[in-house]
Amino acid sequence: MTTQRLHPRVRIVWILRAVLVATVLSAPVGGAAYLSYLPTWAPLVVGGVLLTLGTAHAVIRYRRWRYEIREDALYLDRGVITQVRTTVPLVRIQHVDSRRGPVERAAGLASCVVYTAGSRGADVRIPGLTPAGASDLREELKRLAIRAEGEDAV
């Protein structure tokens, strides 16, 4: 399997999330402006800056995200500030979920979560898949994990 990228629409999901975060974070500033502790443009500027940062983060995140099913491992490469490359040996996969949150459903997307017994990378989430792609990936990983003959994982 060659290197896969996420569905471009995942950017919309992440940008929506950035909008939400920007709104929540600039709400106190808005309150302060309403009570005229701060000038009225302050919440707009704060919100705008946060939104810009969030959007840039979402776009770069989309560009960085890659995953690949290799011969004996699932390989993920992601992260903007801290780049993380995770190698999940297929033998270590405990179970695989495909899941769809409300925002993801609205954007027509789904994600796939891979669980191992490890503690730090215990659940590896691959977002931005089409619903069919997510269940295909789940089935594929399940098949490969069984073929890889997972022994007693711990």
């Binding site: 995770t86 190698t87 040996p89 191992t116 490890g118 503690s119 997972g150 022994e151 007693d152 711990v154």
Partner: protein, 569 residues
Amino acid sequence: MKLAPQSIPYRALQKVSGVVLVIFFVVNDSARLGLLPAVGLAGGVLTVAFAYEVAYYRRYEYELTTDTLDIRSGVISRREREIPYRRIQNVDVSRSVIQRAIGVAAIDLETAGGSETEGAIRFVTPEAATHLQREVQRLKRGVESNQEGESSTAPEGPDEQLLFEISPRELALVGALSFDGRLIGLLVFVGSGSVPVVSGLLPDASAMALSGVVIAAVGGLVLVSWVLGAGVSFSNYYGFRLSRAGDELRYERGLFRRYSGSIPTEKVQTLTITDNPAKRALGYATLTIETAGYAPGQGGEDGNQAAIPIARRDRVYDLAREVESFGDPAFTRPPRRVQWRYGIRYLIVVSVLTSVAFGVNSLTGVDIPWYAAALLLLAVPPAAYLKWRHRGYWLGEDHLLTRNGVWSRSVKAVPYYRMQNVIDRRSLFQRRWNVATVVADTAGTSSLVGDDAAAVDIDTDDAVTLCDALTSRLQASLNDRRPRQAAFEWVDTEVVSSESVPEPSDTEPESGSDEVEPASKGTVSDSGEKPDDNDSGTDSTETDDSGTDAVSDGDTAELGPNASERDRE
């Protein structure tokens, strides 16, 4: 089998004694009610609790079947739980002072699943507890040897071989050297409430007197926390002994509350050897053994999890090799340029401290020597050097070893076979220095708090080869264990052949990583700090032993959960 009958009054009192006391005093003190209603009410609560515990006792039943430990319990909602022996990680028995007096013991069975203890049996007689501990081990082996088809290898009741017993001198050292910084934080937090009182008593105190008080207070805090820490670890490790019985390690410890438990060696996830400057100067170290259940010896309340609280350094290494024979480590250090990274990091900390001191000095008018903080600058280069010097990683025959930490230095040994994930992580700042951190994640417990074995700040090229080497060595170790297993499983030639195909290609990345090691500039092979290897002769036999155990451990027929249970209302 049933619980100990003494547990009925003990459990009842344990649960409601506080409530009963409160009820008694509140009702007795109130004007309209008197002594009689108080006694009546308290007696009523006690009776109800007693009746409940009698029902609990009657309902509670545990049984050792051929391959599972079954626990049936519950008064109102019934629960039946079956724990396969092979999934049991640890069996722990603890007895507090009161429990010892009335002759009961608490058993905790840990499996890797879930966050809490899977099987908590409260309470049985000490004899029954020891019996259960031994039986679980015996039956576990029985299950495995049956599946292997060679039951003759299992000796009945392996004799215990004492590995380590704490000497009074070592016990005193444990107390003296276990300085817990967290206690200071706690005491400061508690003591901060008294600050307004103290400052009220000293209205016209000069700055000199104030700083004198502060210094005395800090000294007192350090002393008190040191004494407390010493007391806690003294009572924790009093009478510590570690022995080996077949494929299990058994420990016993505790002054007030006695703990005893078993650690199956084939379930070991990580070995950690820690020391601090004091221990290093005296030539001592601490060994921690981790399984997936939890870190054994962890009392729950203090987070102490040492398998060997303290022993001579070479002794600790010998014992560690006995559990996992990782050989003689020769650590590869990160590239020298990361010293600059650490230097800059410390420089920022020092300048922040200095500017805070300066700000306090100029804003509040309290005359403190703010430039004293700048003296810390002198400590920056040695600190950066030491931080670099104490880092390192080493790829052994079957283990990855990592070393980190200046103050409390820890060497971690992870068997390749136990790795779950390999994570290569590069922060924004690490990318500027072209370095990366490689984490080998296991199912061990300390990785829950982010304490995984990690090769920190190694060159990015080395990181890539290290990741490849780790994953291929994991596959190789799995392949090593597979052929013997395939003999007694269903014959699926296609799967077997496709599994054995990667084997020749596995060796390539490994040899590649070996080539890289000498080629990478600035890495220094650390041979000066190799521990003495006195015990290599016996090591090999020990590994063979644990190797076969682990093979039989890896049985694919059972992919089910660790403990199956049925709840019904």
